[in-house]
C-alpha cells in the first residue's frame, strides 16, 4: 500500500455497480468522503510486515463436517409465493426489459 491513492468518485461508482447499489448523485460526494476516511483508517495495516505470519486466521472446526446424501430439507412454514414480491404460475418473476410487474 504505502502511498495510498485516495478514493475518488469513479472508484465509488465502479464498486457501487459491482455491489448493485444505487448511489444518488447528491449523496455521492459524502459517500466518497466517508469511504476515503475509512480506507485511510484501515490503511495502517500496511505497517505490519508481510513476513510476520501465524497459522490459520479462523477458529472453529478444523475440517468441515459433511452431511449424508438423503432428501431431508428444512421445511418451509410458508411457501415461496407467500414471500415473493413477484410470483406467477410457480415461478419467481423479474422484469426483462422496460417493464415492471404491476403489483
Amino acid at each position: 500500500m504505502g502511498e495510498r491513492m485516495s478514493i475518488k468518485a469513479e472508484d465509488v461508482i465502479r464498486v457501487a455497480r459491482l455491489a448493485a447499489l444505487d448511489i444518488g448523485e447528491q449523496e455521492l460526494p459524502a459517500v466518497v468522503r466517508q469511504l476515503d476516511r475509512i480506507m485511510g483508517y484501515v490503511e495502517q495495516l500496511s505497517e505490519v510486515p508481510a513476513d510476520q505470519k501465524a497459522d490459520a486466521a479462523v477458529v472453529g472446526p478444523a475440517s468441515v463436517a459433511l452431511r449424508e446424501d438423503v432428501v431431508a430439507p428444512v421445511p418451509l412454514a410458508h411457501p415461496p409465493e407467500a414471500m415473493a414480491p413477484g410470483f406467477i404460475a410457480g415461478f419467481f418473476t423479474v422484469p426483462v426489459r422496460n417493464t415492471l410487474e404491476e403489483s
Binding site: 447499489l21 495495516l45 505490519v48 505470519k53 472446526p61 452431511r67 428444512v74 414480491p85 415492471l100
Partner: protein, 463 residues
C-alpha cells in the same frame, strides 16, 4: 392462570411500559400467551419444570422466528417473516422459555449505538439522551430495564459486550461455533456469534446450557455437546489472570480504569495472581475488523435483491436497475457504506492489499491470544474505552464510532469467549469489565465471572 401465562402477562405489561425505549420491533400479548401455552406443553411432556421454564427471553431481530417478522431493522426486510426458526430459539423453547419480543438493533447489526435502525434509535434505559450501545441495543435496554431477565443478541465485533457495559448488565459472547448460527441473519460469518444478555452471570450460564451444542445445520458449529457450567469459583488460588497492557492506555477513561482496578482487587482477594501480559497487535484489531467484516457482509447481503422476498423497488428498467434501486433504497447509509467498503477490498487489484492483508493480521491477533494464554489462564480488560456516549455524538464520523469497539472486537477476531460484567458506575454511568478465556473454555470463564460478580457492587461509584 398457569405460571407461564402469568409470566407472559407480566412481560406484556412491562413491554407496554417500556415502549418509550423503542427497544422492541415486534411483540404482542397474544403471541406471548401462545408462547406460554407452548412452555406449559413442554413442561407437561417432560413431567417436570424444564430448565428455563416460563423465562421470558427477548430476541434480537436478526434471529429468525416463524411467528414474528424478522426485519434486521432494515427497510429491505420490512414485512418479511421467516418460514423457519433459528436453532437457538428452538432450543430456548425446548427448555421451556418464552420468546417475549423481537428487539431493535443497528440495521443488520452494523453499528455500535443502535442509532442506525430504520425504525428509530433505542434509548439508554437510564439516560435517554445517551445510547445503549450496539448493535444489540434493544436487547441490552430491555434486560437493563428489568423487562426480561435474559435476552439473545449477536456479536460480530462486540455487539453484546459493549451495550452490556453501557447498560450495566452481563453480556456474554461464547466461543465461535459454540452456539449454532442457523437462523442468525449473517453479517460476517467468520465472526458472528449468538450471544447472551442477562442480569446475572448465572442466568447467562443457564441460557448457554440450553442453546449450545453441535447443530448439523451449521457447518461451523463446534462438534461438542451442550456446555455444562459449574458453580462460581470459590478459590482462585493458583489461577493467573493477565492484564493486557494494550488495553490500559494512559488516556483511558479514569472511571473505566478504576473499574478494572476494582475487578483486579476482587480477583486478588479470591487468591488469583495478576500479571501484565502483552497482546501486541491489539491496535490493528479495529482496522482488521473493518476489512474482514465488510468483505464478508458484501457477499452475505447480496441475497437481498428483491427477487424472492423482502422489499422490491418501484423502478423502471431491466433487472440490474431493479437490483440497484431495491438495494439502494432498501439499505440504510451505514449498511451501504460497509457493502461498498467490502466490495472494494475484494475487488480485482485490491484483494491482496486489503483482504489478504487483513487475514494475515487477523491470524497474528489470534496468535497474540494464544501466546498470552500460554502464560495466564484468563485475561481481565475494560470492555469499552468510555461509558455510554450521547446520541448523535459519533454519527458523523464512522471511524469514531468504530473505535467504540476497540477492546471488544479482538475476541471476535480470535474466536475466544469473553464476558462483560458490571463493575460499578462512573459519574453515575454504568461501567463494565470483561474477562476473556481460551477458545472453548466457555464454562470455566462463566464460573470465574460469577466469582468476580459476587465480589463487586455494581451500583457503587468506582472513582
Amino acid at each position: 392462570m398457569s405460571s407461564a401465562a402469568e409470566a407472559a402477562a407480566r412481560t406484556a405489561e412491562a413491554l407496554e411500559q417500556s415502549a418509550g425505549l423503542n427497544a422492541t420491533l415486534h411483540w404482542s400479548p397474544e403471541l406471548l400467551q401462545a408462547e406460554a401455552k407452548q412452555a406449559e406443553a413442554t413442561r407437561a411432556a417432560l413431567g417436570s419444570d424444564p430448565a428455563l421454564f416460563a423465562t421470558p427471553v427477548a430476541v434480537k431481530d436478526n434471529i429468525v422466528t416463524v411467528e414474528q417478522p424478522t426485519t434486521c431493522a432494515s427497510k429491505i426486510l420490512e414485512g418479511y417473516t421467516s418460514p423457519f426458526t433459528a436453532t437457538a430459539v428452538e432450543r430456548l423453547r425446548a427448555a421451556g422459555a418464552i420468546v417475549a419480543c423481537k428487539t431493535n438493533l443497528d440495521e443488520f447489526a452494523m453499528g455500535s449505538s443502535t442509532e442506525h435502525s430504520a425504525f428509530g434509535r433505542v434509548k439508554h434505559p437510564e439516560f435517554p439522551d445517551r445510547v445503549p450501545g450496539g448493535s444489540s441495543g434493544g436487547s441490552a435496554a430491555l434486560v437493563a430495564a428489568g423487562v426480561v431477565p435474559v435476552a439473545l443478541g449477536s456479536e460480530t465485533g462486540g455487539s453484546v459486550r459493549q451495550p452490556a457495559a453501557f447498560c450495566g448488565v452481563v453480556g456474554f459472547k461464547p466461543s465461535y461455533g459454540r452456539v449454532s448460527r442457523h437462523g442468525l441473519v449473517a453479517f460476517a460469518s467468520s465472526l458472528d456469534a449468538i450471544s447472551i444478555f442477562s442480569g446475572t452471570t448465572l442466568d447467562a450460564a443457564r441460557v448457554l446450557q440450553a442453546i449450545s451444542g453441535h447443530d448439523p445445520l451449521d457447518a461451523t458449529s463446534l462438534p461438542e455437546p451442550a456446555v455444562t457450567v459449574g458453580p462460581a469459583r470459590e478459590s482462585l488460588a493458583g489461577v493467573r489472570i493477565g492484564l493486557p497492557v494494550e488495553y490500559l492506555p494512559a488516556d483511558l477513561d479514569p472511571g473505566v480504569r478504576a473499574a478494572v482496578d476494582r475487578a483486579a482487587d476482587v480477583l486478588r482477594s479470591c487468591g488469583a495472581e495478576l500479571v501484565e501480559v502483552s497482546l501486541p497487535h491489539t491496535r490493528y484489531a479495529v482496522p482488521t475488523y473493518y476489512i474482514v467484516a465488510p468483505a464478508e457482509a458484501s457477499a452475505n447481503l447480496a441475497r437481498f435483491d428483491g427477487v424472492r422476498y423482502g422489499h422490491r423497488a418501484e423502478a423502471r428498467g431491466d433487472v440490474a436497475a431493479l437490483y440497484a434501486a431495491t438495494r439502494g433504497e432498501g439499505f440504510g447509509a451505514e449498511v451501504r457504506r460497509r457493502i461498498l467498503v467490502g466490495t472494494y477490498v475484494l475487488s480485482a487489484g485490491y484483494y491482496d492489499a486489503y483482504y489478504r492483508k487483513a487475514q494475515q493480521v487477523r491470524a497474528l491477533i489470534a496468535a497474540d491470544f494464544h501466546s498470552a494464554f500460554g502464560q495466564v489462564d484468563y485475561l481481565l480488560a475494560p470492555t469499552t474505552p468510555t461509558p455510554a456516549f450521547k446520541a448523535g455524538e459519533k454519527t458523523d464520523d464512522p471511524v469514531a464510532m468504530y473505535l467504540a469497539d476497540v477492546f471488544v472486537c479482538p475476541a471476535n477476531l480470535a474466536g475466544v469467549p469473553a464476558v462483560s460484567v458490571p463493575a460499578g458506575r462512573s459519574d453515575g454511568l454504568p461501567v463494565g469489565v470483561q474477562l476473556l478465556a481460551p477458545y472453548r473454555k466457555d464454562a470455566e470463564l462463566l464460573e470465574l465471572a460469577m466469582a468476580v460478580e459476587a465480589g463487586m457492587d455494581r451500583q457503587a461509584e468506582v472513582r
